[in-house]
Every structure is written in C-alpha cells, then in structure tokens.
C-alpha cells in the first residue's frame, strides 16, 4: 500500500512542477509543441528513474561530504546516454529540444529526488518514486504544451485542428505566453488543491461532529418555546 503511495504522490499531491514548482526551465522553454513535451518528459523520466536506482543502490558508498558531485556524475552519465540516443534516432526531436537535453543534468527535480529520497531509501522505493515524479513532470508539461500549442499555433501534435477559421495568438508560443500559461496552470492547481483540502476538512469535521453527537446522551425534551430560544447543539 505504501509502495503505491510512493508511486502516486508524484502525480498530483507532490507534483514536481505544479506543487513543488521546481524544474522550471524545460517546463517553459520546450512546451511550444506536444511532441517536444512528450520527448522531454520521457527523457527526464528515464534519467530520473535510472539515476534514482543507481544512487539508491550505491548510497552507502558515497562519502557524505562529496555526495553532490557523485550524484552529478551519475545523472550526467544518463543524460549523455539520452542525448546520444536522441541524436542518433530522433534527430528532429534532438534539434527541437536543443540545449535543454544536456540541461537535464541541472534539472532541480532530479537533484532534489536524489538528495531527498534516493540517497536514503531502498532501490525499489526509489525506482517507484522516480517513475511517479517523472510521470508527474511529463503530465504537467503535456498539459501546458497542449494549451500553448492550441492557442499559439492552433494545432495538436503538429497537426492543424482546422484549416483556417482561427487566427492563433502567436504570443502564446513566445516567451511571455509561456510565463502566463504556467502561472495560470499553477494557480489553477493551487485552487483545486485548496478546494480539495477544504472539502476534506469539512467532511472530516462533519463526520466528527456526527460521531460526537451520536455519542452524547440526548438531553431531555423541553417545551418547544424554551428549546427554540436556546442556541443549537455543539
């Protein structure tokens, strides 16, 4: 049960992009197109899972004072693998993502998971955590790039939605649009999370109230006029 929680916490509750707000550079830079988002998300997930597994497996061998450089070497190795694979098999995607593939090394999400999770926990937990966090990141950038691609170039996955009929707002795929869209998506997620927390608290409170009410001995019945003037229970 707790294993499943390790997997699912990255998707919504501790979503790295929308809740923790880390790993922003690729989130903003490459979300002009859905293919980019899928490619970036899967590349980062691969690096995250593999480096989490390796760091967790070797966590007892890293001297505490130089653990950061050790993590960086592990992460850089997997990033290099991703870069060479993309350059070899997906040249168009490699061209589109450009400098942001090598920059996976300094993606705060990966470093944060290595430091906060993988260097303390077992291999299986770390792998699940990596998968969850990576998919959370992928999901978030897919949502953002879907919004930006539809509004900014009126297409999905590079395919035009209709021929003409809608003049896309160029600015959404340019720099300012990226900031506006990400700001609004984070605000929306904060709003939803706050509302959920509020409703959960309300449900909990009403349950507690009902339990307390049913446990309490019932007061004797009073004449109606006197009962109406008194404030209600609780």
């Amino acid at each position: 049960m707790s294993r499943i929680r390790e997997l699912t916490k990255g998707l919504l509750r501790e979503n790295p992009t929308l809740v923790l707000v880390i790993g922003l550079c690729p989130t903003l830079a490459i979300t002009t197109n859905l293919w980019n988002a899928v490619g970036m998300g899967l590349s980062a997930t691969f690096v995250l899972v593999m480096s989490n597994v390796i760091i967790s497996a070797f966590r007892r061998f890293f001297p505490r004072s130089i653990r950061m450089p050790c993590f960086i070497v592990v992460i850089a190795t997997f990033t290099t693998i991703v870069q060479m694979v993309l350059a070899g098999f997906f040249p168009a995607l490699n061209e589109a993502l450009g400098i942001f593939i090598p920059l996976i090394v300094v993606n705060c999400i990966i470093m944060a998971r290595a430091e906060a999770f993988a260097s303390k926990r077992g291999v299986l937990d770390s792998a699940l955590d990596g998968i969850g966090m990576g998919l959370g990141f992928t999901m978030a950038i897919i949502v953002i790039s879907a919004i930006r691609e539809v509004l900014g170039s009126w297409s999905l996955f590079g395919v035009p939605i209709t021929d003409g009929g809608f003049a896309p707002a160029q600015i959404v795929v340019q720099a300012p649009g990226a900031f506006v869209v990400l700001g609004c998506v984070i605000a929306a997620s904060a709003f939803v999370q706050a509302a959920r927390k509020e409703s959960r608290r309300a449900a909990l409170a009403s349950e507690e109230y009902r339990a307390r009410e049913s446990a309490r001995p019932r007061p004797e019945r009073r004449p109606a006029a006197e009962g109406a003037s008194q404030p209600g229970g609780a």
């Binding site: 922003l24 550079c25 950061m68 850089a76 060479m84 400098i99 705060c108 720099a175 649009g177």
Partner: protein, 196 residues
C-alpha cells in the same frame, strides 16, 4: 562590431531568463528582496564569466582528444561544480565581507541552468572560431549573459516588493503572480527581438 553584437544580444535580445528560460529557479527563488537579488546577480555574473573561460579551455582539451560527444556534459558540470567550490573557499579566505554577501548564493549556482547553459551555447557557437577570438567571445558572452540575468533579477525584485502590498486572489499568491510579473517583463524584452 561582432563583439558588440554578442554583448548586446546576451543582455537584451537573448536575455537568459526572459528569452531563453535559463536560470528560472534562482530567478524566482531569490527575487523577493532587492538586496538579495543584487547579491545573487553579482555572484551569477562572476560565476558565468569564469565558467565560460574555464569550460572553453576544457572544451579545447576535449576537442583535441575527440571526446566532446560523450564526455562533454559530465566534464562541463564537474568543472563548474569544482570551480564554484573553489571560488567559495577563496572568497571565504580573502574577503570575509564579500563571502558574507555572496556566500549563501554560491552553492546554489552550481545547479543554475544559466551557467551550464552558457557553456553549452558557447561550445556550440564559438568552437569553430579561432582560439583567441573564441576565448574572448566566450568570456564576453558569459559576462553579458550574467549582466542580463542580474538586470532581469533586479527589475523583478523591485516589482515583487511593490506586489507584496497588493491584494492578490488567494490562488495567485506567491509563485503564480510572480510568473505573471515575469510575463510582463518578458513582453517588454520581446521588443528587442529582431534587433540582432
């Protein structure tokens, strides 16, 4: 003229934060107060300049041994990390006052994408230049990129200080409103696009 194009482009047209989306985590994290924004900006100018210089030399060695494809990322990030560590130790020893001002920001800079970003951009852009002009172009690109970062950061912190007093809807408090402010800054900087 070529150098002017590089410098002006790095500060305004291809501003690292507002046009290229590099270094956003420190940009949002440390821009709440003007004084810390200036401190962080200075640290970034310094580290970006020096990292450009150091990785240019490292890249020469890698190119000589033809290992830049599969060792480029690892070597660059390690050089930057150890350089930052070294700078921190030197500053602590030489100027405790400056260490007080910059010290807390220096470790953060290792994972600043702008620093690794500028070295990667330099490697792609100036590697086929002659060694001496390439060296100066890389250093200039790093220095001016850092200045652009500092400019964006100081502007942002001034706006955020004013923003503190305003009634913002609850969901937009904090990071989302900071993003909307950044968007307005980015829109202003979009005016520079096409100049170079």
């Amino acid at each position: 003229m070529e150098y002017f194009r590089i410098g002006f482009g790095a500060i305004f047209v291809y501003n690292f934060v507002l046009a290229q989306f590099l270094g956003l985590c420190p940009f949002l994290g440390v821009s709440k107060k003007m004084s810390s924004a200036v401190g962080m900006g200075m640290a970034v100018v310094f580290v970006m300049t020096m990292a450009s210089v150091v990785t240019f030399l490292a890249n020469l060695v890698l190119l000589y041994f033809e290992m830049n494809v599969f060792l480029g990322i690892t070597v660059f990030i390690l050089v930057i990390a150890s350089f930052v560590q070294f700078v921190e130790m030197v500053i602590q020893k030489v100027s405790p006052a400056l260490y007080q001002a910059l010290g807390i920001y220096l470790p953060l800079i290792t994972t600043n994408c702008a620093v690794l970003g500028v070295t990667q951009l330099n490697a792609a852009r100036f590697a086929h230049w002659d060694v001496v002009p390439g060296f100066f172009a890389s250093a200039l690109n790093g220095f001016c990129g850092g200045l652009g970062f500092m400019l964006a950061m100081v502007l942002m912190s001034a706006m955020r200080e004013e923003m503190e007093a305003l009634p913002v809807p609850r969901a937009f408090r904090g990071i989302p409103s900071a993003f909307l402010l950044t968007a307005s800054l980015a829109m202003a900087f979009l005016g520079f696009s096409g100049m170079i």
